[in-house]
Symmetry: D2
Subunit: 451 residues, 4 copies
């Protein structure tokens, strides 16, 4: 066969229809011939629902894209050109614990670079590294497009411990930022360009351009004047102190609220937890509704409701990235990749999230030089956290895990760090073979898809 | 005259007797012929008390050291070989506000690198830069030994904005750490050596050596086993979580409690404020008692009570430093100096606190390479804060000031940052000409000595 | 007027028809309304010849581009959107001395980064910095596109001493390399992409891609097998030792012959000097013939003979660059720009020649990381030379000039350096006001265009 | 036994009496109890002669230092505290070829960082790495003090490929520079201090201090005025162009003549070769005479004639270094050690020659920051050469070997590089098992001592 083979791990995810739509609309320049949706036994029924919808979508489009559904990961990987990963080890249940346990100690959970994210990394990284190993064996030339969270630490692990120079981490936060700003400027998104630099969920828009003209200051003013303009669906709409935003001089991402508004965010989460269950609970309900929709045999396109989920645009970003690699398009996209000197002060072999030229040989980051002084400290601190966290995730060393937890800026002390750590280690035991070596075999079959 | 001329700005400080003692005991190798104690009008009576005690001390030692007391700074600086600065602009009253105002917002004040330290920097840096200018004019070859807090930011300001390559910042924290560790190891202090690296009040002992043999791990274990071993008088005795201390692998300084135990430290300060007045209040009382002692015409040596103040060893450290410069001794001392590549990731032209070879041409820092990952993030974040703070102190820019306050790791949000900032700007108005340009003239005569 | 205003300094150059052709063929996307050709009195007749040809070309194309010819630089600069500079201070006569004097000491002259280039820099940099000053005054938003040699040092001077962040240096060497390689691969040039990194005339192709696929090794083998494949018209066709070329692993530029084949190149130049006059003499003859052609009132397009000059593609490269800036095209072009961390080990604020994304805000270099070990030493050495040379050019300091000459890798000793330096200072006296301060006024009117 | 055990590999060297003298005079603070002189069978008779002289010296001093002579390296290494290496693989015969073969192509041989040094590295590095492996096995806590040339590349190999963090490279060039300068200043050597930075035989004195006062400029002037003041016995006395020396602003080492006076040095060597045999021949004669002296049973001290050899002070430098490590003396000595950020722009894990604090845990380099621009290029180029050379030495890769040869600044072209390389590979075949794998066993027994 001559077309492109895609393997999508965690294929039973509710996001998959967006991915399928993305391939359909790019078919002319990105001729996918096989899309393999892979999942684990526990996700089989969802995989079936999503897979059948995918088939109806392809059929409607009249394209020769074969949809495969399988529980056999190796078969899917064999000879693949691109592998996308969208796992959630432990499923939504684990995510809920990631948020609830820290919150019970009056600490924000933060599923990517907070205490919750730390455990997400502990559960996910060993699974991802195992997949990376299989890729090296079964499809060594494939690009691995990872949009499994915490994407920053996962990419760091793949680059430093996974022997995976062809791994790219992807996030939908920058796209959302661009879209929101386009709306503020009342311009088509394609007229907007931003210089992104930082880390995953810790990325800044250093500059905004409209038709190539710098409009950063104007955008900051608009953001100040608008109510909660920059928020995404999964972050509470809070406003920056205008003088602070102006002095910062760059566009923060929504997740910066956790660091520049720690107090308010904590209050908000405690409130929310009381009233309506926390975020993960909300997500679970949306999920259920989506799968009800997907089951409808008359549905043959991505339903609009999917866009209301926090993860919207993720899959489309993946298609866009694959498209540019396949066609050596040399356009600019923000991705998580090896720093290679693009951001001064971050190790060259660490992962950063940075505007990069997307070539047939993968992303080439644009040299951003030194970050503005005021933001570089926080970025460095999170990178420190990420590096220690990844080391702990790979080694299963208790001390390193405690260290990572204690140096996280959301955690108020080593004492609290130890309490949260111990509770979470116990709660996630089943998914942490590296910390509980004897349980290794049981765990492997138990990791769930991101959905 | 052939001997050495020393000018001590803030000479009416209660620490001065330690300085005098330091010069007396080193006289053979460091022949000081003139010691000029300078202060401002408001400090004249203290200057007189301290000066007379100094005269009695010198007389008792039978040394030809002339003691001068003056309010004329220029006269004191003229032709000086070394200038020491131990100012406190605004005096203890200002320091109390530095601690109380943040605390009223449930934020730790922290007089060096917290919100309190920020305002200490705002008050102090303009005065210090003015002195630096006079030094360039009146004694351009003199070394400026600064132990005015916040020593880190003051040194940063002197190096970046003061045209002062011959300025050195000094702190007594490292000496205290060495002495405490010597006690733990039951060894003479001179057998202990430590590799210090970091920033002022954010310094780590990367390694401890006993007779040249590495004993770092042993010391960490001893610190874990001892009750509150590393604490200094001005920090509450708290214990690290042992697994955390071991995983950290280096010796933190007492001020790290504020960052690794933020929650507990805040609780403690709130308690303390209720019960017995805060730290500054305590200091004020000790002060009063000391000056009562100094007045005694029969006293002709440094009273032991002085050693109980937080600032003990400061002045002796200054003498030791001057001694090594004067004699090109090439011994190793921890000082605040230009990084020059010694600590990777910190700008070369920023101030760091680092073990340095003390030569006749000043300190040459020892190359420490990359800091351990787990600590580098926090160090970078404080350096970010310091750089923005210094910029605000020099320019009087409100936005920069807010930025510095908001990115300080002790401050929970930009909203709280603005509240604290506005209250403190108002409270310290009289000492902040750069933020209130029209008041410039009034301010200059009003800055008080550190005492 | 709404269109774009271009000011071309050195407009009487024989290259100008290529520039005019470039603007004509890009008119749809780059609507140039005014092209101001500027020259000095000594170049007036050439300016007239070239300007009239330009008018005929525009007329033939039927485009509303106004051609202006002037000796009044300020008038041309006023309100310009882009300024191109193609000067040759001292004209061809000076260039001949740049080559002959070193050669008389058995040293290669090398008009860009050899002893000849050093004096080219000494003559050119003061003139360029003066132009930069006028640009800041008369058209501060204009981009300055410099293709005056030595482009590397001129860009270094503009970035470090010219307060000219909007200056870009341009060279035709990379384009020639791509075209030659395209020919070797029997592919359309647009299918080829190369990662360029290094310095001007010291640039390497780190990788070659054909349709996005890496073909670097294949190209190196082809270069080994072909006779003199990579040579350009102005460099003798010599072949690399195949094992050397393979071990180098990157594509050198033609000028690398001077450094990796110093012996042969010197022999060759000595031969050539005997037989047929040196390169500059050849160039002069080609020049004369070209202007004969240009005078023909029936000629209304760029004559093919122009492509045989060493400088071919220069002007087209300038049009391409202007086009991409004007349209925020974000394509990749090799330019001389601020390093900004793109090449590790080169100062961030130094000029490098590097593949960059060309945006509406100018070039953003792509992060190339560390250069291969084997080439980084030579690149660093030339950058050292360039920096010292620029310092000498700006200050007129004899010692710095001697230093630059002596550390140039083509110069065999400090003794020979001094001999060449003294002879050349004398020979170029009229164009070196900085070294002969009293002559300042005479010089200004005497600088000639590049032609 | 309680004393210190020293193993001296290449113990039959003519330098050994200096080493013995060094230990004798430092006995009070450095109680050596066993000195093991090791050599290979071919060196047995010299070992015997030197060993017996050592015994007489120790006896005369009345010290309980046991002298052991052995061909069994493992026995000597077992439990050693310090290992010194002073090998010369291939002996003087090989050294002669290192100089003669390049010279026959009109290229300077230069036994340390020229083409000769390259082959010295090829012969030596495999042997040294084998010794390093034995050290890890038999005396893992020992410090390895290497004064085998080429010391720079050998240290680079030990640090990067030898798993030898406790290896230090030593050279006598800096000591000679200090002594010569002391003589010029008519001061006791101990009053002089210099900041050394660079690479082995490529080291610069950045500053000179007399009693802690900077006298760099004065020294440069003295060097200019004196005839051949800085020369050592093994380099021809040439003078710098005074303006060049002043503009350089730092003190070059004698070996810089090869790079800043390449032309003259080559002429000189060609002359010398004609007249009196080259340097190695001279050395051989001195050697023979020394051993005649050593045989004299009445000789019981180091003969003065030894000081006339180029290697004088080498062994004393080794004793001084061992003394400071053993006593955690924290004095400053120039050594070859891991850069660790001390010199900006050189990789952190590369070897540099730099003034370092000598502690009980080895050398800690002093942060020197950025080298002066004018010298950094050459230093970088030699470091490039060294790194490629070491890679070739370790892998035996022909292409890498050619690359190293061709990028050496003394070699005029890749063509000449290949000629010299091929001849030298053939000439040294017996000592290059890595390039001729099948010969591996024969070679091992054939490597000769440095003598």
């Amino acid at each position: 066969m001559d077309g492109i083979k895609i393997a999508t791990l965690g294929g039973g995810s509710s996001y998959t229809p967006e991915l399928v739509e993305g391939f359909i609309k790019r078919y002319a320049e990105l001729p996918v011939s096989e899309l393999w949706l892979v999942d684990i036994p526990a996700g089989e029924s969802k995989l079936h629902i999503v897979g059948e919808l995918a088939k109806r979508m392809v059929e409607k489009a009249g394209l020769p894209i074969q949809i495969h559904m399988t529980l056999d990961r190796r078969k899917a990987l064999e000879g693949a050109d691109f592998v996308t990963t969208q796992l959630r080890v432990g499923g939504l249940a684990a995510r809920m614990k990631d948020e609830q346990i820290p919150l019970s100690h009056h600490v924000i959970g933060q599923e990517t670079n907070g205490p919750g994210g730390l455990f997400n990394a502990f559960r996910t990284i060993p699974v991802i590294l195992e997949i990376a190993k299989e890729i090296r064996e079964l499809c060594p030339d494939a690009w691995m497009i990872n949009f499994t969270n915490p994407a920053g630490m996962v990419t760091e692990a793949l680059l430093r411990y996974g022997g995976s120079p062809k791994a790219i981490g992807l996030c939908n936060v920058p796209i959302h930022m661009e879209m929101n700003i386009a709306k503020l400027l009342e311009a088509e998104p394609r007229r907007i360009r931003m210089d992104f630099a930082g880390l995953n969920h810790m990325v800044f828009g250093l500059n905004v351009y409209l038709d190539g003209i710098k409009v950063t200051k104007k955008v900051i003013d608009l953001l100040n004047s608008e109510e909660a303009a920059m928020t995404m669906q999964n972050i509470t709409g809070v406003k920056w102190v205008p003088e602070f935003a102006r002095a910062l001089g760059v566009i923060p991402c929504p997740y910066h609220n956790y660091y520049y508004k720690t107090g308010e965010m904590l209050e908000h989460q405690l409130e929310e937890a009381k009233e309506s269950g926390i975020r993960a609970e909300v997500v679970r309900k949306v999920e259920e509704e989506l799968f009800q929709l997907y089951k409808d045999v008359n549905l043959d396109e991505k339903p609009v409701q999917l866009e209301q989920r926090g993860g919207a645009y993720y899959s489309d970003a993946a298609c866009r990235l694959i498209h540019s690699i396949y066609n050596d398009k040399c356009d600019i996209q923000p991705v998580n990749t090896r720093n290679n000197g693009a951001i001064k002060g971050i190790p060259e072999d660490s992962a950063v999230e940075v505007s990069s030229v997307i070539t047939g040989q993968g992303p080439k980051p644009i040299a951003m030089g030194e970050l503005p002084v005021a933001i570089s400290g926080l970025v460095q601190q999170i990178k420190s956290f990420e590096r220690v966290a990844v080391e702990a995730a790979v080694t299963g060393d208790y001390g390193k895990a405690l260290l990572a937890m204690a140096i996280n800026p959301l955690v108020p002390s080593d004492t609290v760090a130890k309490q949260i750590l111990d509770e979470m280690l116990e709660a996630h035991k089943a998914y942490l073979p590296q910390f509980y070596p004897s349980r290794l075999t049981t765990v492997k079959i138990d990791c769930k898809e991101k959905s």
